[in-house]
Amino acid sequence: MGLNIIVLAKQVPDTRNVGKDAMKADGTVNRAALPAIFNPEDLNALEQALRLKDKYPGTKVTLLTMGPGRAADIIREGLFRGADGGVLLTDRAFAGSDTLATSYALSCAIRKIKDYDLILAGRQAIDGDTAQVGPQVAEKLGLPQVTYGEEIYSAEKGKISLKRRLERGVETVECPMPAVVTINSSAPPCRPRNAKLVMKFKHAQTVTERQNQSEDYIDLTNDRPYLNIAEWSVDDIESDKEKLGLSGSPTKVKQIENVVFQAKESRHIQANDEEIEELVKELIANHTIG
């Protein structure tokens, strides 16, 4: 029996590859200078979804992401790896969302998708590291949640069985479906792109992207509807607008400080035998080592 799985994914700046031009002169982050990537743990979540698809024929995997137009990139990336479809939730009304407003918007979109047995997401995104959106989506939808998932053993007979990886050990948990499960980076990495799927989906686009295309491609989707990446604005979902964006965000950023290190008196040691030995002698003499 096939499952309907929604994978929540986020396009994030690659904070692990921060270059010198990553900060603007005014101390704010220059997002344009950072490469945008598929949030790593969301890829782990996608892999778990694809494994369920391998195991239960007829399973449908849908990616859901909220972000600017260019976030359609990660939906394509997901299609290349085996997802069946995707939804991009994009609107200025979502700008300035904290985790709670984000979760609310996502939960409204999930309600619109309607048919789902399982919602998977990465444990956290590397730009914020909060790990809040998964549990908050679960709460907004009134679903049970299992966080820190590492391996889904089965999802059948109305319940899911999986392994959790915690700080000090592991748990095997059973939970009725539908449920929200977040996946750790300790889970297996996502499979690579599949060449056939890349050929099939390379022209998959949102409406907005297609409008900016040359005419050759405009009619492409008439006989290939799978090339449509759904693009939803705030008007496409049913929501209380007060709970979206800045107004729906209880947390506000009061201040952002560029990181400034306070210099302390450092002693510089040459990497030669003599100076290193002098340093070691000193450390032994003051009982730091030895």
Binding site: T15, R16, V18, G27, V29, P40, T99, L100, I126, D127, G128, D129, T130, A131, Q132, P135, Q136, E139, P144, Q145, T147, S161, L166, E167, G169, V170, E171, T172, V173, E174, C175, P250, T251, K252, V253, K254, I256, E257, N258, V259, F261, Q262, K264, E265, S266, R267, H268, I269, A271, D273, I276, E277, L279, V280, K281, L283, I284, T288, I289, G290
Partner: protein, 339 residues
Amino acid sequence: MDNIFVICEIEDGKVADVSLELLTKGRSLANQLNCQLEAIALGHNLKGIEEQIFPYGADVVHIGDDKRLEPFTTLPYTSVIVELFKKEKPQIALLGATTMGRDLGPRVSSALQSGLTADCTALEIGDHEDKKAKKHYKNLLYQIRPAFGGNIVATIINPDCRPQMATVREGVMKKEIFSKTHKGKVKVIDVEKYLKPEDTVVRIVERHIEKNRINIKNSSIIVSGGYGMGSKENFSILYDLAEVLGGEVGASRAAVDAGFAEHDRQVGQTGVTVRPKLYIACGISGQIQHTAGMEESSMVIAINNDPAAPINKIADFVITGDVMETIPKLIKAYKKNTK
């Protein structure tokens, strides 16, 4: 009303260090705000648990003792805490940024539509001027945390929603006994009243609790490697040095992400916070996310081939050179001078 709450974590009848650290911080914030400090202890067979909590300055301990609250699962804990918060209306609620706190915190904050800031590295009290709405807020909780891969430090506030919630990692705050003889009130939570049948749908089939195999937190000497080590193989030289000095090996996030070292060794905001006697940073550039977890080390030696690496600014000794050549020299010099 308007008190500070700490949600305690209890494992095998013992209150976790991170909860005691938060009680210590909570006590000082409560003194500053002139309000009470209250603790929540949930679990089963908790008789006498308040004795562990009172010395850290709690004025009230709310105890919910029920077999459905042991071991921890999200839904029953959420129901109890949400109902209790609706009744008690705390202004601040703190919990550990542990696997439990990071699972429970967002669920509770979502149910209460209150804000939550994860992994704070400092908590302070301060005012806020909202110029647009022309409103002045007094005594807000400043929730301070590095963000964006450690390139910025953000101060987050929740002007309008209560409670102001924050999680803090173990080891970030200091644990300090307020008074050995301090006593407060015990209030029993009527768990039966708060739990719903659907709260117990998630079943833990099997559970192995393993004590941390690797525990760098208690090591007085840490030899830490960063992305600049280049490979997992090169990391082995750090183990050599650590073994000679009687220390442990740590790693930066970039090194852990690259697969050079296990996650348990990660030092920094999203890893562990350490305060060793000696911290040797090898091939670590020194982003604030990392330094937040080691800057209180008594002594820091930085070994890096980049003379402009930020880590050098907080180091007591800077060795500019190749790690792979420098470490054998350190080992040799140490052996020569201790025999």
